[in-house]
C-alpha cells in the first residue's frame, strides 16, 4: 500500500491534487473552528463587499459568505463523497458480475445498464426532486447515486472482461476457488485502479450535480452548501446588483476541488498503468538524446 502511495505522490500532478483535496477535507472537518460566524445568522449589513471583517462579503440577508463557504464545504463534500461511494459501489458490483458470469446475467445487466445510461439524468432528477419536494442533501446524494452508476459499470465490465481472459482466473477456478472468492479476492484487487479512477470521477460529477440541483431550487433552504449559496445568490439577483462575491465564492470552491480531484486521477492512472510511470523518464531521455544528436551532428560536419 505504501508502495502505491509513494508512486502516486511521485507524480507532481497527483501530489498537488491530493494536497488540494486534503485542504478541503481539513476545512470540512474543522469548519466550526475556522468559520468566524454562524453561517445562517444575520451578522452584517446586506451585500457588503469583502472587507477585513467579512473576508468574502455578505449575502443579501446579511450572512457572512466566508462562513457559509466553510460550512458549505462540509455538506458538499459529504454529499459528493457519499454519492460517489454509492455510484462506485453499484457500478463496480454490476460491472464485475456481468463480466464474470457472462451469458444471460451479462445480457440482463447490460440491458439495465444501457437503460440507466440513456436516461436523461438531469430531467429525471428534476422530476424526482420536484416530486419529493425540497429534499435535503442526503436525499440528493442518494438520488444522484442511484442514477449515475451506468458509465462506471460499463468501464468496469470492460476491464473485468479483459482480466477474465488471463490464465490466472482459469487457474484459480481449476484449484476450486469458490465464485465469491474469485470475484472479491482474485479479480477485485486487479481492478482497484479503475475503481479508484471511477470513484474520483464520480465525486467530481456528484459535487457538480448536487450544486446544480440545489441551484435550481430543489435543495432544502435550511442546508448550507455551495449549491444553496448559488441559489440564494440567484434569487437575490446578486450579479445584477454587483455583489459578485456571493457568486464567485461557491463557483471557485467547486472549480478548485474539481481541479484537485482531476489532478489526483493522473496519479491513479500512473499506478494503474505501469508504462505511464516512465513518462517523466521518457521526456528526460528525449531531451538528452536530442542534445547528444546535435553534438554528434556538429562533430560530424567538422
Amino acid at each position: 500500500m505504501s508502495d502505491l502511495l509513494r508512486t502516486f505522490l511521485r507524480n507532481r500532478k497527483a501530489a498537488i491534487g491530493l494536497t488540494i483535496v486534503l485542504i478541503y477535507v481539513a476545512i470540512a472537518i474543522f469548519a466550526p473552528l475556522i468559520a468566524p460566524f454562524d453561517p445562517v445568522a444575520r451578522v452584517g449589513r446586506p451585500h457588503q463587499a469583502p472587507s477585513a471583517e467579512h473576508w468574502l462579503g455578505t449575502t443579501r440577508m446579511g450572512r457572512d459568505v466566508f462562513s457559509q463557504l466553510i460550512w458549505g464545504t462540509r455538506t458538499s463534500l459529504m454529499v459528493g463523497i457519499g454519492a460517489g461511494l454509492i455510484v462506485t459501489a453499484i457500478g463496480t458490483a454490476i460491472g464485475i458480475t456481468a463480466a464474470y458470469f457472462g451469458g444471460w446475467i451479462d445480457d440482463a445487466l447490460n440491458f439495465l445498464t444501457n437503460v440507466v445510461l440513456v436516461l436523461p439524468q438531469l430531467p429525471l432528477l428534476l422530476v424526482l426532486a420536484a416530486f419529493l419536494g425540497q429534499v435535503g442533501p442526503w436525499a440528493i446524494a442518494l438520488i444522484i447515486g442511484l442514477t449515475s452508476w451506468a458509465w462506471g459499470a460499463r468501464v468496469t465490465r470492460a476491464q473485468a472482461m479483459s482480466l477474465k481472459t488471463r490464465d490466472f482466473i482459469q487457474a484459480s477456478a481449476m484449484i476450486g476457488e469458490p465464485t465469491w472468492r474469485m470475484i472479491l479476492v482474485e479479480m477485485l484487487p486487479n481492478l482497484l485502479s479503475i475503481i479508484g479512477f471511477n470513484f474520483i470521477g464520480s465525486v467530481i460529477f456528484t459535487i457538480i450535480t448536487e450544486a446544480t440541483l440545489e441551484f435550481l431550487g430543489l435543495g432544502s433552504p435550511l442546508a448550507t452548501s455551495w449549491g444553496t449559496m448559488l441559489y440564494n445568490a440567484q434569487t437575490a439577483s446578486a450579479i445584477m446588483v454587483g455583489a459578485w462575491w456571493e457568486v464567485l465564492a461557491p463557483c471557485a470552491a467547486i472549480v478548485l476541488i474539481g481541479i484537485g480531484l482531476s489532478l489526483m486521477n493522473f496519479g491513479v492512472d500512473e499506478i494503474a498503468n505501469p508504462r505511464m510511470r516512465t513518462l517523466g523518464n521518457v521526456a528526460k531521455a528525449l531531451r538528452i538524446e536530442k542534445r547528444l544528436t546535435r553534438q554528434r551532428m556538429q562533430e560530424a560536419s567538422q
Binding site: 523518464n281 531521455a285 538524446e289 554528434r296 560530424a300
Partner: protein, 270 residues
C-alpha cells in the same frame, strides 16, 4: 574489405526513477558485406536493444549515451532527421519478432508496400503493384494475396511478407530480431532457407538475433554471445559450436535441449 557496419563502444542506458540502467555496455563489433552475424543471448542481455538502436528505433527512456555506429563509414548517430529517414529502409531494414509488429492490421498487404515505396520516392500505383507482386513472388507468396489483410494470412506467411517488406528497397543490411521464434520449426526452416536463397541472389548482410543458438549456428557465418550488455565471445560459427572459449558460451550449449542422437552440447563437426 572494409566493414559494412562497424559498431564502436556503444553504450545504451535506460533512464529510471532511480539510477540509469546500462543495458548495453560499450560493445563493439563489425558486420562485413554479405555476411550473417548472429547475436545470441538470454532475455534481457541487451541484444534487442542493440538491434533497435542500430536503426535509431530505440524508444525513450532508452538513450544512446556513447559510441559510434558506422555504416559504410558514416556515423548513423549523427544523422539528422531527413538523412535518417532516407537511410532507413533503403540501406538498412528490419524484420521484427511478431509480424504484427511490422504489419499494420488495418491495411492490405499491398497498401503497406505502396506506402513504403511512396515514402522513398515517387511511384505510380501501377508501378507499386508490379513491384509488390515481384516481391511477394520472391518470398513464395502468390501475388493475388496482396489484397488480403494481415490477419487473413497464417503466421508463416505474415513473416514472409515482413521479409519482402524488408527487402523492398534493396537494403545492404537486414536486422532480424527473433524473426522465427513465434513460428513452428517447419515454417522456421522454410523461411530461413528463403532468407539464405535471397541473400545469395540479391547480396545483403544479416544481423540475426535470437536466443536459440542451435538455430543460429545453422545459418550464421559468425556468432557473438551477449550477456548482461556485453559481448563475451565472438567468433566463427564453427568455432562457437565446436570450441567455445568462454564459460558462459559453454553453459549455454549445456543448457540446450538437443536431440540425443548427438552427444550433448559440443563437439560437432560443421
Amino acid at each position: 574489405m572494409s566493414a559494412l557496419l562497424s559498431v564502436k563502444d556503444l553504450r545504451i542506458d535506460y533512464l529510471t526513477s532511480g539510477e540509469p540502467f546500462t543495458a548495453v555496455r560499450d560493445i563493439s563489433f563489425e558486420i562485413q558485406p554479405n555476411e550473417i552475424l548472429g547475436l545470441a543471448g538470454e532475455s534481457g542481455c541487451g541484444k534487442s536493444t542493440v538491434a533497435y538502436a542500430l536503426m535509431r528505433l530505440h524508444k525513450p527512456p532508452a538513450l544512446v549515451r556513447n559510441g559510434h555506429i558506422l555504416f559504410e563509414g558514416r556515423d548513423v548517430l549523427s544523422f539528422g532527421d531527413k538523412e535518417l529517414r532516407a537511410w532507413r529502409w533503403s540501406e538498412v531494414s528490419m524484420m521484427f519478432q511478431s509480424a504484427m509488429n511490422s504489419l499494420s492490421p488495418v491495411m492490405t498487404i499491398f497498401r503497406q508496400f505502396y506506402d513504403m515505396l511512396r515514402a522513398h520516392g515517387t511511384v505510380t500505383k501501377a508501378q507499386a503493384q508490379e513491384r509488390t507482386a515481384q516481391l511477394l513472388e520472391m518470398v513464395g507468396i502468390p501475388a493475388d494475396r496482396m489484397h488480403a489483410h494481415p490477419h487473413q494470412l497464417s503466421g508463416g506467411m505474415r513473416q514472409r511478407v515482413a521479409l519482402a517488406l524488408a527487402l523492398t528497397l534493396k537494403p545492404k543490411l537486414i536486422i532480424m530480431d527473433e524473426p522465427t521464434t513465434a513460428l513452428d520449426v517447419v515454417v522456421q526452416r522454410e523461411i530461413l532457407q528463403e532468407v539464405l536463397r535471397l541473400k545469395d541472389e540479391l547480396g545483403f548482410s544479416v544481423l540475426f538475433i535470437t536466443h536459440d543458438i542451435a538455430l543460429m549456428a545453422q545459418i550464421s557465418d559468425r556468432i557473438g554471445i551477449m550477456r548482461e550488455g556485453q559481448i563475451v565471445e565472438i567468433g566463427t560459427a564453427s568455432q562457437i559450436v565446436t570450441a567455445p572459449t568462454h564459460d558462459y558460451t559453454r553453459s549455454l550449449w549445456d543448457a540446450m535441449p538437443l536431440l540425443a542422437q548427438r552427444p550433448e552440447g559440443m563437439a560437432h563437426a560443421v
